[in-house]
Subunit: 350 residues, 2 copies
């Protein structure tokens, strides 16, 4: 990481205490120094730089507003493929995108643990700044609090996003119709498996990378098409929980084929070792799209032209055989109802 | 508290586990049950009820958008006069109001401690719902996470607010002019003193109440007046830190008179016992307004007609004697520079 901006990191590390203290969270001099030395330079944008308690931005010319919020408490906060910082940007930006919104602005609230190493906070902040830049959103306002007594947690982040939904876009589970195609943008289980592997310091032949990524490019590649009915990113609870939620909300049956759902070999192996079902393991850079059948091939074709959607494929269809329940057609041809995640498999995965 | 909605509380408590478990935070069945049984009924509004990962709302007709976010980690989470729930609503709504915005929507992210009593969560949620109703904002989307290992903390909340700033309003420190009047809406130090007293279970003759309150009414009473240059609510760091911030940002000197700053006798007493300066103790329902001298009397008159502004008064003026520094004229006539809060007095006060 230090290769990216060594000069800027050095400047920050030289000017601030090397560990987070409670005084960093009391709104006084040390809070100001943290904001002005670390957050403003790395998140750099004119709105944040005003340092007001609120950010004032222009109202988009047309469309409805989309708002989304998520807290991130992942442990450990750093894992192969990312850390809590890019996760917090991607998670909220992706939730806006799933509603068809163009993400515009983010807010971020830090709850820092007393004793956290400053260099870890700089690393997380840098990751957020990089992710925000790539996602084309500005981090326009924020907050910093410090709590004592659990320095091993590092930090919790809460991001809230504001976006604008174009007038022609209306993606909701209620728009799903019988006959629709169910499209998945790539492999499942990568994020959860990566965090589990790093939590238990498990050794595998290959290191499992989290799929944490911004879905902006893959959504924008298809947003102008007619016939997209609903999108959702299968994060906590995994693909199965998302399919169950969409089935319940639409009153239809999202029926998918096990053999068409891509799972990396190392993810499958780890899940077998831990006794987990990869369909219930979290993803952080994948989406499910439910689209009219006549547009399915074009959606897949366009998604495959993007970096995060290059393994996109149709994994099933919507029918009315089971009202409000999702269904998996197994490799052997049996049908299995997919319910919401019932017993917790992986706490603090995001 | 249980008098307010006993039937609804009973219904909630009957249907859910009596303590928070990690499965409430994993996005599966128990998270859904918590949202559908507790949050949706108490926060009731059609946008939240769609249960999407993002809330889509209409764009305001005119004006710029204001965004604000704050995390709340106050300990204990319940104190005389309020709890973390109304504090989290008031805190973010007030930050929007200080920018001249009409608050419209809130998001809320819960980080719950495993083992938290459900009835405490219901109480906090009810307080949020009541505060939101009174502040005329809708809680349109949210998130729930659970972390293990510090059940004594109860919960952390992060609220983010969206509001609209009318075209004619532009309140910023940069708009402050020499000769402006500095107005304070009421007594200082109440919130911080209340939390400290309940943290140490200190016995005083009177119980010190937090001033946690929504500033909507007092702001709306004056917002149509010309000549309001800046407002800010003196929360963490207290009145002195706010005056120092506004002086630094305006490049002028906000000079206030100690004898004109109202402090409750019990708050003053507690601060003496603890060795705290009440000017640096947090408030959660007060504001500082910097206004043109010709409109000061009318601002005070209107503020005094509201419940939270009934002790409003002019406490000083803006001059150019000390560039960028705030100044207190003491009871004895000496002048003392007011700096930002330097050493932490009261951690986890909000």
């Amino acid at each position: 990481m230090s290769k990216e901006l060594p000069q800027e990191w050095k400047r920050i590390l030289d000017r601030l205490p090397q560990v987070i203290e409670t005084s960093h969270g009391t709104g006084g001099k040390m809070t100001h120094e943290l904001i002005e030395t670390l957050f403003v330079p790395l998140f750099r944008n004119p709105t944040l730089a005003t340092l007001q308690d609120q950010a004032v931005v222009d109202t988009p010319a047309a469309g409805r507003l989309a708002l989304s919020t998520d807290s991130f408490v992942v442990q450990p906060f750093r894992f192969p493929g990312g850390n809590i910082g890019d996760l917090a940007v991607h998670g909220t930006v992706n939730d806006l995108l799933m509603g068809g919104a163009t993400p515009l602005y983010l807010t971020v609230a830090f709850v820092l643990m007393e004793g956290m190493a400053l260099k870890d906070l700089v690393e997380v902040t840098q990751s957020m700044a990089n992710a925000a830049k790539k996602a084309k959103v500005q981090i326009v306002t924020g907050d910093t609090k410090v709590v004592e007594g659990r320095s091993e947690d590092g930090l919790f982040l809460t991001t809230t996003g504001l976006g604008v939904v174009p007038p022609w876009v209306d993606w909701r589970p209620e728009c799903i119709l019988p006959g629709d195609a169910v499209i998945l943008s790539g492999t499942v289980g990568d994020h959860g498996a990566s965090v589990m592997a790093s939590r238990y310091e498990m050794e595998f032949e290959t290191q499992i990378q989290s799929d944490t990524a911004c879905l902006r490019e893959v959504v924008m590649a298809v947003r102008d098409l007619q016939g997209i009915h609903c999108m959702r990113d299968p994060t906590r609870g995994g693909l199965a929980t998302t399919l169950a939620e969409l089935s319940a909300a639409s009153g239809l049956c999202l029926k998918v084929r096990e053999r068409d759902i891509p799972i990396r070999e190392d993810v499958r192996g780890l899940c077998e070792v831990l006794g987990l079902d990869p369909l219930y393991v979290a993803n952080e850079g994948k989406l499910v799209a439910v689209v009219a059948p006549e547009v399915a091939d074009e959606v897949v074709r366009r998604m495959r032209q993007t970096a995060v959607g290059r393994e996109a494929r149709v994994i099933g269809e919507v029918d009315a055989t089971l009202l409000g329940e999702a269904c998996l057609v197994t490799e052997l041809g049996a049908q299995r109802v997919l319910d919401l995640l019932a017993v917790e498999q992986l706490p603090r995965i995001c």
